[in-house]
């Protein structure tokens, strides 16, 4: 049996962020479109916004494996990657997954921000709806209703990818829980510099505070 090399891949903040995202998104999906839960939907949306902003900040100041500059490659690298997707080992997102991260962040952020400008024509008015024209409010409300389908599509793609990797004996879910991943000793991988996840939580706390203070 070959010896393995264990690498700390995902810090505590990244892992918590990922699973909180799942929980909050499920909550948003459940409370969305139901006027009985509109206030809860609003609050959850603000939590989502704080989570996303913190993740983006972490992408600049967090652990190396979480940084955009570390995992974002050129589109050509993605093409190369797809020629032999299971050959190399990565100590962060693979080049295709990296774009998925960006797409997911953009979709979720657009969803959270558009929600602030919505009006349900019954009794809910987003906290920023008064800043733009009624036509803009209508467009953003329409977008907010429709774009959730794109998010579902992105999630479906994400799950299919995980399934395919699992078939290829690449574990993706385990490291997102434990933070650690085993690599073959000859994989020529380097431990990415890690920052303590607690710093991420401090950032999250700050973001939650001003977001709820301003838009709550």
């Amino acid at each position: 049996m070959m010896n393995t090399l264990t690498i700390k891949l995902w810090d505590g903040f990244i892992r918590s962020f990922h699973w909180l995202l799942v929980v909050v998104l499920a909550g948003l999906w459940y409370t969305g479109g139901d006027i009985d839960y509109i206030d809860l939907h609003h609050q959850l949306g603000l939590v989502m916004l704080a989570l996303l902003l913190t993740r983006i900040m972490w992408g600049f100041v967090g652990s190396q494996s979480a940084r955009f500059s570390y995992f974002l490659r050129s589109p050509i690298a993605v093409l190369h990657y797809f020629k032999a997707p299971f050959k190399r080992e990565y100590v962060t997102h693979n080049p295709a997954g990296a774009y998925m991260v960006v797409i997911m962040l953009v979709l979720l952020l657009s969803q959270a921000i558009s929600g602030l400008f919505t009006d349900d024509a019954i009794f809910f008015r987003g906290p920023l709806a008064h800043l733009v024209s009624n036509d803009m409010v209508r467009s953003l409300t329409r977008y907010h209703k429709q774009a959730f389908d794109y998010i579902l599509l992105a999630i479906a793609l994400h799950l299919v990818a995980i399934f395919v990797y699992t078939l290829m004996k690449k574990r993706l879910v385990g490291p997102m829980i434990t933070g650690r991943k085993d690599y073959p000793e000859d994989a020529q991988v380097k431990q990415p510099k890690q920052r303590h996840g607690a710093f991420g939580f401090v950032l999250l706390g700050i973001n939650l505070t001003w977001i709820f203070g301003w838009l709550g």
């Binding site: 006027i35 024509a121 019954i122």
Partner: protein, 159 residues
Amino acid sequence: MRLLTTFSALAVSIGIAALAATSNPVQASAFTQAEDAVKYRQGAFQLIRENFGYMSGMVRGEIDFDGEQFKQRSQALYHLSNIPFDAFSGAGENATDNSDALPAIWQNRSDFNAKAEAFQQAVKELVEAADSENMRTIRPAFMATARTCQQCHEGYRAD
């Protein structure tokens, strides 16, 4: 003097009779232009929305609950609840220009009418609940009314 009084009474009677004679057809087709019917509908819904929004502020705790104010708003809503729906017929029939009304309204007219009636019934119950001046009684009636708005918007109002 007496003669003058008689004349004025007569004049008023004739006036009323003339008004009565003409007011029926006028009422039956209150709008000669689709455009006016649309404006009328929109105006009525705007007033409904404003009053409902005010009540929602109290139900959701954004403004302090004032039982008397709430009662007045619910009564205003009650009077308004019948207003817009006339303007979906006559000149307002199939009028969708500059309007969020979807053609489905006239394709499923009886369903649309049933939903309008459900709204009116819910508002009636809201007025009764408002008499209690008790938020515990009011809240479910208010939410039930909001649901009737949503149920009709879905499919009949453009997103």
